[in-house]
């Protein structure tokens, strides 16, 4: 069934279809309509779940951590400063290996206060140990939300599904809503490998010593360092799980095929623009225009940001002479985080370092500054001619 709805509703319908049992969220612009929709669905009895109202985002994720520890499928959603407020629990959910799914309607962080879109909120969470997926349109939002639960439950790692505030969260677009019985085949009920049990009490994630220790069974139990290593190892292996999950989804629903990166006209491209989220599809138009001028250009959308699909990114850029990384976030004091990650991937994977493409980091759309297609085209046209004027912040007026 195809419907025309907002990105937030696409996310909510994905959560409903996934059979989520516990929702705890605190409303924040531009995520609010998503939580309102879930609250309505639960209130109307159309979703068999508990909605736990909370006084903050920190508590929202804490409720999900409790619910997930008890074996429930749990969901939360937030934006911007709400995500930053739950930051401690974001780390905790990953360290505790709980398969929680969270939607992030991407928004700029304060100060100064701003409610519009960029990626600073979720990019700032990149080191927490969560899997991060960036959706580019409404179809991907609903599909990624469903896939997120399967990836999370396969890996015991929480997943963030990130989509652009307003640009996707509030705009209307047609998309297909999967049938419930098909979803049941793709995503069976959650059976955790371990869940809290009142008949067998245990203390989870209590003080864990630097060294391994003997437990009450007389068995060796790991120390903090082993637990953290296993998270890293499983995250690296999660790249493959994301691919397998996408393949299984594609077989049932006929959509997908771009779980890690989404290349557009990259095959013979001498120059490639790299971006995440809705900007990726906007760049398709820019690239089409530049192609008509004779430039051999392409776009590479990064769909999975953590774990970073370094091999796939490097392989996609192997033949390029130049790469422009266009980001809506910055690691302040250096450059965009995606730009650094991409350079690192090229350094690790390119067989001939002397033939590595140049990499130019660009910043766009910070705090919701409108990214005009004409500005993007102009910037890339001058980039292809050898120099981009100014600091590389597209559309800035100083």
């Amino acid at each position: 069934m195809h419907i025309i709805e907002t990105g937030n509703v696409a996310a909510a319908l994905g959560v409903q279809l996934a059979g989520v049992q516990v929702v705890a969220a605190y409303p924040i612009t531009p995520q609010t309509p998503l939580t309102e929709k879930l609250s309505e669905l639960i209130e109307a009895g159309e979703m068999d779940a508990r909605y736990v109202p909370v006084e903050s985002e920190h508590s929202a994720l804490a409720v999900c951590i409790g619910a997930s520890s008890a074996g429930a499928r749990a969901f939360t959603a937030t934006s911007a400063n709400g995500l930053l407020y739950m930051h401690e629990q974001v780390h905790w959910a990953a360290g505790a290996r709980l398969p929680i799914v969270m939607c992030v309607a991407n928004r700029a962080v304060g100060a100064p206060w701003n409610i519009w879109n960029d990626h600073q909120d979720s990019i700032s969470q990149r080191d927490t140990g969560w899997i991060q997926i960036y959706s580019c349109d409404h179809q991907q939002i609903i599909d990624d939300t469903l896939k997120a639960f399967r990836v999370a439950e396969t890996t015991s790692i929480p997943v963030m599904v990130c989509y652009d505030g307003y640009l996707l969260s509030h705009t209307y677009m047609p998309f297909a809503v999967p049938e419930q019985e098909m979803v049941a085949r793709f995503l069976p009920p959650f059976h955790p490998s371990y869940a809290l049990d009142p008949d067998a009490p245990a203390n989870l994630n209590t003080v864990t010593l630097p060294e391994i220790r003997m437990d009450v069974h007389g068995e060796m139990a790991h120390g903090y360092m082993e637990i953290r290593y296993l998270l890293q190892e499983d995250l690296r292996n999660a790249v493959q799980v994301v691919e397998e999950t996408d393949a299984a989804f594609q077989e049932l629903f006929g959509r997908g095929g771009v779980p890690l990166v989404e290349p557009y006209r990259c095959d013979d491209a001498e120059y490639v623009v790299v971006a995440m989220g809705s900007l990726t599809y906007q760049l398709w138009d820019v690239i089409d225009a530049l192609r008509t001028e004779g430039h051999k250009v392409g776009v590479l959308g990064v769909r999975l940001y953590r774990p970073f699909p370094d091999a796939a990114v490097a392989a996609a850029l192997q033949g390029a002479r130049g790469v422009f990384v266009m980001e809506k976030a910055l690691s302040y004091g250096y450059e965009g985080a995606l730009c650094s990650d991409l350079k690192s991937a090229l350094y690790d994977h390119l067989p001939d370092k002397s033939r590595a493409p140049f990499v130019k980091g660009l910043v766009a759309g910070i705090g919701g500054r409108e990214i005009k297609t004409v500005d993007l085209t102009d910037a890339l046209r001058s980039g292809l001619a050898g120099s981009i004027p100014g600091p590389g912040w597209i559309g800035i007026r100083l």
Partner: protein, 102 residues
Amino acid sequence: MGTRGYRYKTSHSLPGPGDGGNTGSWRVQRPVIDLTRCTPAKRGVEACFSCWLYCPDVVVSRTIPPQIDYAYCKGCGICAEECPTKAITMVDESVYHEHPEG
């Protein structure tokens, strides 16, 4: 997605003595009970047991007389603080190291 030879994927502690390791080695002062002042020991009946009740590490037994498991007692001193008859004294551990027989 394994546990690499360990039972659980995450930090997992079960109720039982010693799950946090040999915590008795953390102790710098040792609680010692003077049975001539201890209420249940003196009267020979189940009474008081404030030390058992307040011990945060569950290393004091609810017996006559109460006994302290020094393998896991961290020496926090709460039992000595709470004892209504001042029967428990915190003794510096160095005394026992200089005289291993105790």
